[in-house]
Amino acid sequence: MSRFIATSAIRGAHSVIADAEATLKDALQKMGPETPVAFTSTSYFLPVIFGFTGQKITKLGDMPAALQHARSLLPPVPRDNLWLPYLGETLDAGVATLFAEEIIEGIRFAKGQQPEQYNGHKLNGPIDDVQMRSWGIQMVDGRMPGFAAIVGAAKSNEVAVEIVRQLQSRGQLVFLCSQSNGRSIIDQLRESGVDLGYDTFTVTFGTDTYSAVYALGYATRAALSFGNVAAGDIRKILLYNKFRCFAFVLALGQVDDIKYATAAGAINYGFPVIADTVIPNILPSGVTRYAHVVSLPFDDLPGKDDLEKAQRLVQRCVEIRGIKIKIAQVPIPVAYGPAFEGEVVRRENLRIEYGGKGSMCFELLTTKSLDEVEDGKITVVGPEIDAVPDGAKVPLAIVIEVAGRKMQTDFEPVLERQIHHFVNGAEGIQHIGQRDIAWLRFSKSAVNKGFKLKHLGDILHANYHNHFGAIVDKVQITLYSDPEKVKQLMGKARAIYSERNIRTAGLTDEAVDTFYSCSLCQSFAPTHICVINPERVGLCGAYNWLDCRASYEINPTGPNKPVAKGKVIDAAKGEWEGVNKFVYENTQMKTDRFTLYSIMDQPMTTCGCCECVMVLLPECNGFMLVSRDDYGMTPCGMTFTTLMGTVGGGLQTPGMMGVGKYYLLSKKFISSEGGIRRVVWLSKNLKESMEEELKAVCEREGVPDLLDKIGDGSVATTVEDLLPLLEKKGHPALTMAPLI
């Protein structure tokens, strides 16, 4: 806590309360306690006092009690070197200030001095209930993040206008009040001809700092109307605002004691205070979500002129309050939407291609810290499209850097894989492949409409915000079309890819304490649940552990939930307390135990969409695996389709289960029964398409010639034919411990 700020705020609070006491005394004498008091069209009385205490102030005579309460909150002004004030005391002083300010404004209403007449205009004063509710709905549904309460005056009229424009463009409500050196931002905007009013989301409160209390009255009423909170339940009111109302205070110009005191009141609501002058910072978060007080001296902001600095200032404010960005329309000159995903750019219509045979193109998404990324910055290094002849083949590197408080490096590949999907949505642009085999084709019609390399950046920027806003706060994109640069960066990218490969391969079940579930298939198989561990994909083969984790972070109420492993029950079979509990609760209590590494003892349930079915062949003391695209008969006497009818539908069937084909390669592949050694028959297409990988697994497991000994549909489709073959080749399963 800054001693300086605390001292100023507490001093300010004392002075506001003294003022309120004097004003109230005078008003009571002159007008009497029965004089009615009411803000503009509201049923929330003096809303801050009502919210904090539940007290309904309707007349002057109701005020002394509230003011006494305020005074009781007030800590003494810290004397030099005597004691160090704490955050708590400063915050209390802030609350006391808001009470006193609201009382003063209330008396002004009683006297007919509010809303304020100023320079021949009537200011708005407090916001009425109807408007509050209408904006409140937009705040709840996310169209309007919150409000910016601007206190003071900007460096110049132009700067004032730019700040307000920037805020409006982000859907932020703008409240205007107070002054600095005799100037108010209200003057600045009015002089520049800016329309002020409800229609333009700008509200003029008053020309002194006291009127800033209307902003907090608004926040209080929003919580009371939309937060299911009762007046007096102040903790809930403050929490509601902290988490739901993305508001902040922007102090322009010098900050005096009263501003500090009022700001301390705002901090109670979780609203950070940002000043464009030099004041001490209070950074560690606690009461506010991120930082309490941040100083961003205007002249030190980056930017070539004041307008850029103003933009930067707003950008920083938005980041500090943690406001998420949504971009309604991707700003590119061609149409954009899922309908264009399947388009092919044919040779006749090809204007330029990046990558493809004989060229180089890669895409890489990495994580940076928040200050290393400038959101929305798109840079093209090398020639733009217009500088390249028709039909040319050019190298390209798409380098995306993201930052986010919840971003993790593990999500990088998940996000990177989306490039394909995002870019293909643009009309006339075709994207193929991924990583260093990416390949883009731009059509003539798209380029003629003005599509440039830079627009790839716009597409990606917008989509990452819109789809991954939960984990990504900032995105910047660099597009390298300079061949030298691409070559140079390619090596680095490849190093990162291989690092990721190693990491994914090295992810073990033991290394994590949380697995993830997938319940997507419950729409068909109500009692089916997939528990997905790092060493086993979902049985449809489409989701691995990392995908599920990212999906959970992005959408916590979606189909993927974390499953805490809990205490281990049987390490060899892969049974954990936490998993069992989760499975029980999520299979309509139909299944109470789940082993992850066994097919014979309480195996996972199977739904209708598995890639392969694995079946016990008791005669062979092993298992066969048939894949979905194998239509032939199998040694167990059933085709894939018949097997699905037996095993599918959310049942647990010892001796049979659905698996994703990559599970075959896992070290945890039915490890409790002996792993790959138990496989006696595989669908031919599986055996062929995964030959290399399977060989490697056999090596790893110390049975290098195993693959040869495993039967397939071309040599046996009955167990009678299979068994002699296994015997002839000496398949290891035959001599292993009996399964039954």
Binding site: P338, A339, F340, E341, G342, E343, V344, N424, Q430, F524, A525, P526, T527, A542, M600, G608, C609, V615, L616, L617, P618, E619, R628, D629, C636, G637, M638, G645, T646, G648, G649, G650, T653, P654, G655, M656, T718, V719, E720, I740
Partner: protein
């Protein structure tokens, strides 16, 4: 506790002799564990194994067959309370009641109408199952004559309804070969009825409205008399009691394996309802809630159709969605110039698209591809709904002969197929439709200009 397939397998001879109709002992064991077949189907089972397995594998609700070789109704053998838990296997028989007092001519006209009622619903043929003939005349000869005449007109499954064993005997003489259901053994006549059932090997209804206790007592007496194929009649049931009683009966069978009440149930919805309209509603409820045979008091095609549809819907396997037969379907009365849309043969997908096309005001052609009953996205992900498949379907169903233009609208969710489809269908215009069926109407208004 049901045994797992493996546990059952352990008891089997393990010879894979295939005499049970299954290729291996394990395949058979899996089916037994699902109670889809009785353990006795294995011919080589040892006595000890049979004893060990029989109790665990016996279907909790006995499968009862009514009718002869030409047409029969099989009911019972249900294993779940709710269709989503597995499926409902044996749709209830819907029977039309006839009285032997009605003029024979009129009766036979109805018989003819019922027998000929075939409703074609998306490739499936729906029809009623047979007749319940009531011995209203109380006269044995009249009853027998009526039964004989009905049987001669249409050899459909029958329920013979008479409290009089003599009349029953007379009617059975005329019809026993087609295994009619005898209605009914009561606590007064059960010995005689049991005799008849045994003699003619026909299934028998045990009727006891007093209470489930007494109903169970009756079935046990009938069992002891050697009758195994029973159907329960717990007495007249209105909306509430039907739901409650039939649920209790199903629970007793499934949850308590209570043998004396482990049989299908017969209901007569007209007995408790005041109007034909109401009878239909109660019959509808009983289709979903646990009836095995439903006897309707009158025949009307207008109510038979919705009831047959209800039965079809409830007895669809929820884990194996119904598939449409692939082909090109006219929606409304399309002309050669009307729009052509393509979708998968998952029934729900088909119905959503067809319903929206129907409502769009654009008569259209709907091309349904064989995707093995998968919905659009799932089929696409499984590689069963790709450009090649669509192009093949266009050829296979000779779409080009039905339409005069060359534009095809593909579901918005598989917009990715557009490029490949342009390759596969040279000279066609590939249009990407909306992602949701609901938007088809607006889409056609906006983009269909042929």
């Amino acid at each position: 506790m049901a045994l797992s397939g493996i546990e059952i397998y352990k008891h089997l001879p393990k010879t894979n002799c295939k005499k049970c109709g299954f290729p291996t002992c394990l395949a058979f064991a899996m089916k037994v564990s699902q109670k889809a077949i009785a353990i006795t189907a294995c011919t080589d089972l040892s006595e000890t194994a049979r004893a060990a397995l029989e109790a665990a594998s016996r279907p909790p609700i006995r499968l009862i067959t009514i009718g002869g070789d030409s047409r029969k109704v099989e009911v019972g053998n249900e294993v779940v309370m709710f269709r989503h838990e597995k499926t409902f296997y044996h749709p209830p028989g819907l029977m039309i009641k006839l009285k032997d007092t009605a003029p024979l001519e009129a009766t036979l006209k109805t018989v003819d109408e019922v027998a000929n009622l075939v409703i074609d619903r998306v490739g499936l043929k729906l029809s009623l199952d047979g007749f319940a003939i009531q011995n209203e005349s109380k006269d044995a000869a009249t009853f027998a004559r009526c039964v004989e005449a009905v049987k001669a007109k249409a050899d459909l499954p029958l329920v013979l309804m008479s409290p009089d064993p003599a009349a029953m005997e007379a009617a059975l003489e005329k019809s026993a070969r087609s295994r009619p259901l005898i209605y009914a053994a009561t606590k007064d006549n059960w010995e005689k009825m049991a005799e008849l059932a045994k003699k003619h090997s026909c299934p028998l209804v045990a009727s006891e409205p007093a209470s489930l206790d007494e109903l169970a007592a009756l079935t046990q007496k009938l069992n002891q008399a050697g009758v195994e194929d029973l159907v329960l009649d717990p007495g007249p049931q209105g909306f509430s009691s039907s739901l409650n009683t039939l649920t209790q009966l199903r629970r007793l069978a499934l949850k308590k394996s209570f043998r004396p009440l482990g049989y299908p149930i017969i209901t007569f919805p007209a007995e408790t309802t005041g109007s034909p309209e109401e009878e239909v509603l109660l019959a509808g409820q009983q289709i979903a809630k646990y009836a095995g045979i439903i006897v309707l008091s009158r025949f009307s095609p207008a109510t038979a159709y919705p009831l047959l549809t209800m039965r079809l819907n409830m007895y669809t396997d929820p884990q194996k969605p119904i598939q449409m037969s692939p082909g090109i379907y006219p929606i409304g009365a399309p002309k050669p110039s009307s729009p052509l849309c393509v979708t998968t043969n998952f029934s729900l997908t088909y119905f959503s698209v067809a319903t929206e096309l129907e409502a769009s005001g654009f008569p259209s052609w709907l091309l349904v591809c064989d995707t093995e009953g998968l919905s659009v996205l799932t089929a696409w992900a499984a590689g069963k709904f790709d450009a090649e498949k669509i192009a093949k379907s266009v050829k296979a169903f000779n779409v080009e002969a039905s339409i005069s233009h060359r534009s095809i609208i593909i579901p918005g969710r598989v917009a990715v197929l557009r490029g490949e489809l342009e390759e596969e269908l040279q000279g066609w215009k590939i249009m990407v439709g909306p992602p949701e069926a609901m938007e088809i109407g607006s889409y056609l208004k906006r983009y269909w200009t042929n």
